[in-house]
């Protein structure tokens, strides 16, 4: 057992997979010689050789397209999109090719697409987005968003070993700010299983990614005020753990979905609709959501803070829910 940062856990998971399966290799912009924009793959090329971790031209469409090709040939590529925002350049490759090839040709595309996502680092509109909702609605893909180092290592392994194309959103704000215990053994977290990060009885929060941590902070504040908040970390967005969602709604009867992504049409919208459809008679309050305002993420820190969900905003909504 070691205490690793969120980033180190991803690196470790990647290294172990490269060692375990010779078909696994990494490709992306600046990940070879430079070790990656965030240094996730630092030292990989030296340790494993050129073809296990190499640099690509600046074209996400080409990178992902090449990965799909490699995957079709039996390899297990792990492609890095330097900032998740640029995934839009590879959109058709992912959505129209990778996601549909198995349906159309019966061929597998065991590709993993790693994307540093999220804001709070002053990255501005093109370096701060959370694109998971765009892919939630594509059949044929899987999408995961770990929030802790433990979940990172377990899920990157699950993603690489999955025969489906999996998009792995790593939250850049959490990279070096979150530390946690990571077992040394070869454990895999199943895709599609949530994790109750905090048990509670009065109000539920269903969340993932960076807002797991701000939700936990809000829960702690509310605990001082006698409100018991349950925090459920989805971990996987697509598919997401419907049973866990229903269980927590049944338990507390009041639920709020929280994510850093913008409000309209986000993952929260899907989860809220699901709850209304399948757990109506367990609701003692309307389903609430806390998310970013429907604007591009500002560059100016004060504005960014105003747009993104925060512990304070979550706290206020949960307090209202508890009193409803």
């Amino acid at each position: 057992m070691a205490t690793l940062t969120y980033l180190e856990a991803i690196s470790l998971g990647l290294k172990e997979e490269i060692k375990r399966d010779q078909n696994v290799f990494c490709l992306g912009e600046d990940i070879g010689v430079f070790g990656g924009a965030f240094k996730v793959t630092k030292g990989f090329q030296e340790e494993f050789g050129y073809w296990k971790c190499f640099d690509t031209p600046l074209s996400d469409s080409a990178i992902v397209g090449a990965s799909i090709g490699a995957a079709l040939m039996g390899m297990r590529p792990v492609v890095e999109i330097q900032f998740a925002d640029f995934i839009t350049c590879a959109f058709t490759q992912i959505v129209n090719n990778a996601a549909k090839i198995h349906y159309r040709w019966g061929a597998k595309v065991p590709m993993t697409v790693r994307c540093p996502s999220g804001g709070g680092v002053g990255g501005g509109p093109f370096h701060s987005q959370n694109p998971e909702a765009w892919f939630l609605r594509v059949p044929g893909l899987k999408v995961v968003c770990p929030s802790t180092p433990y979940d990172c290592k377990g899920l990157i392994k699950a993603a690489i070993r999955d025969d489906n194309p999996v998009i792995f959103f790593e939250h850049k704000y959490l990279y070096r700010r979150i530390k946690g215990e990571v077992p040394a053994d070869d454990y895999v977290i199943p895709i599609g299983k949530a994790d109750v990060k905090r048990e509670g009885t009065d109000v539920s929060v269903v969340t993932y990614g960076s807002t797991v941590h701000s939700s936990l902070e809000a829960a702690e504040r509310l605990a001082q005020e006698g409100v018991s908040v349950e925090v459920v970390d989805l971990r996987s967005i697509h598919p997401y753990d419907k049973e866990a969602v229903l269980a927590t709604v049944k338990k507390t009867n009041k639920v709020c979905v929280v994510h850093e992504d913008t409000l309209t049409g986000g993952v929260g919208a899907e989860v809220a609709a699901f709850i209304a459809e399948h757990a109506f008679s367990s609701l003692d309050a309307p389903v609430r959501r806390v998310a970013a305002l429907d604007t591009p993420i500002p560059y100016v820190p004060a504005l960014e803070e105003a747009v993104l969900p925060s512990t304070e905003k979550i706290y206020q909504v949960l307090k209202e829910l508890a009193a409803y």
Binding site: K242, E243, L246, V249, K250, N253, H278, A279, F280, S281, S282, L283, D284, A285, A323, Y324
Partner: protein, 400 residues
């Protein structure tokens, strides 16, 4: 297709059962082998699994209601089994599962937000339906939620207070409702006294032989069998042997017929943290000393660990009870129906006794036999317990 759920029979002599808890609500999906409800029969709780997969469509017997074995307690809307053969010439088509996700009950509440002064949330309406809270009552429940709305906690509190029959008025009194085991014991005891003509005979036992024999065999027994050798084992062995000779004490009375049993199912009373239980060692008359000892110890452990099944407390023909645990020497026990006798044995204490006209110190124990004078008279009962005492005083040795 609609299928009846019936009160199961968990033991040969069990005639009824009480529903303790429904694990499913009307409308809930039930998988095959999933627990539908929990019943209690004579203090033993059992979970009852469903034979069919389907949806619970009716509940006919509520919690804490007792019904006869075989009575219909509910109805399942069952899915036809994929593997079932044709029924009446028509292939039974399986009902395809609609939602792949186990959904929480979306009950159609007959209590609705119609015209009332307040709006009630889905869970509050669902609870009202479930707990039988009428719209009139609902309107009166104080709301502590937003703008005075009734929350789930509010209606839950109302339901709880509604079922509280006793409010403790005096501060120097505690009011505690009887739990199932106490209730069962209370009923059984009173019924027994009303049924049998309780008569008692007491015999004194000089336990020197038993004490010596146990001391002699103790260590090896423990080593060989991994359990302690106790006086109960000796007394039980003597009792079982003598019951074979005096079957009148090992009988029961049904109407005007005596059922004289040639087998011995020995009940051994055990004090557990949940109350008094009397598990039964079946077929004691066929057991060797060691087998009987193991059986008694085994079933006592089972009782203490709440692992008994209903059959374990049924079918006894005679009961033994140790009233010496707290130092009492004589007790007048109540017969365990439908038996006709029960033997209580008290604490062994050193006493001055007269042996061959001399006063000596001996370990002395008293046996009290309570018996039913409807069919066991003083001569029979008295001589039986005296014989037990005599054998315990004079036996040569036990084959252990």
């Amino acid at each position: 297709m609609e299928v009846d759920i019936v009160m199961p029979q968990l033991g040969e002599s069990i005639a009824e059962g009480t529903i303790v808890k429904w694990h499913k609500k009307i409308g809930d999906r039930i998988e095959k082998d999933e627990t539908i409800f929990e019943i209690t029969t004579d203090k033993i709780d059992s979970e009852i699994p469903s034979v069919y997969a389907g949806r619970l469509s009716k509940i006919l017997v509520m919690e804490n209601q007792t019904v006869a074995v075989g009575a219909v307690v509910g109805i399942i809307e069952a899915e036809a089994d994929m593997l079932s053969p044709t029924i009446g010439g028509h292939t039974v088509k399986p009902i395809s599962p609609g939602v792949q996700v186990p959904s929480i009950v979306n009950r159609q509440s007959s209590i609705r937000n119609e015209g009332g002064s307040r709006q009630y949330s889905p869970v509050v309406l669902a609870l009202a339906q479930e707990q039988g809270v009428s719209m009139e009552e609902l309107e009166k429940i104080p709301g502590t939620g937003n703008e005075g709305r009734v929350t789930k906690q509010d209606i839950a509190a109302y339901v709880a207070s509604r079922s509280k029959v006793f409010a403790s008025v005096r501060s120097d009194e505690d009011i505690i409702p009887l739990d199932r085991i106490k209730k069962s014991m209370a009923e059984h005891m009173v019924k027994s006294l009303h049924t049998s003509a309780h008569t008692f005979s007491v015999s004194e036992v000089d336990c020197q032989r038993m004490v010596d024999e146990r001391e002699r065999q103790r260590q090896e027994f423990e080593k060989k069998h991994g359990m302690k050798l106790t006086y109960t084992h000796f007394i039980a062995q003597v009792v079982v042997n003598l019951l074979k000779e005096t079957p009148m004490v090992n009988a029961s009375l049904e109407g005007d017929k005596m059922i004289i049993k040639k087998y011995v199912n020995l009940g051994v009373a055990v004090a557990t943290d949940r109350g008094l239980l009397v598990p039964v060692v079946k077929g004691a008359h066929l057991m060797s000393f060691v087998e009987l000892a193991k059986a008694i110890t085994g079933i006592s452990e089972k009782a203490k660990n709440h692992q008994l099944v209903p059959d374990d407390v049924h079918g006894g023909t005679f009961t033994m009870t140790n009233n010496g645990t707290f130092g009492n020497i004589i007790a007048l026990p109540i017969i365990n129906q439908p038996q006709v006798a029960i033997l209580a044995y008290g604490a062994i204490k050193k006493r001055p006794v007269v042996v061959e006209d001399k006063v000596v110190v001996r370990p002395v124990m008293y046996l009290t036999l309570a018996y039913d004078h409807r069919i066991v008279d003083g001569a029979t009962g008295g001589s039986f317990v005296q014989k037990v005492a005599d054998v315990l005083e004079t036996f040569k040795s036990f084959i252990i």
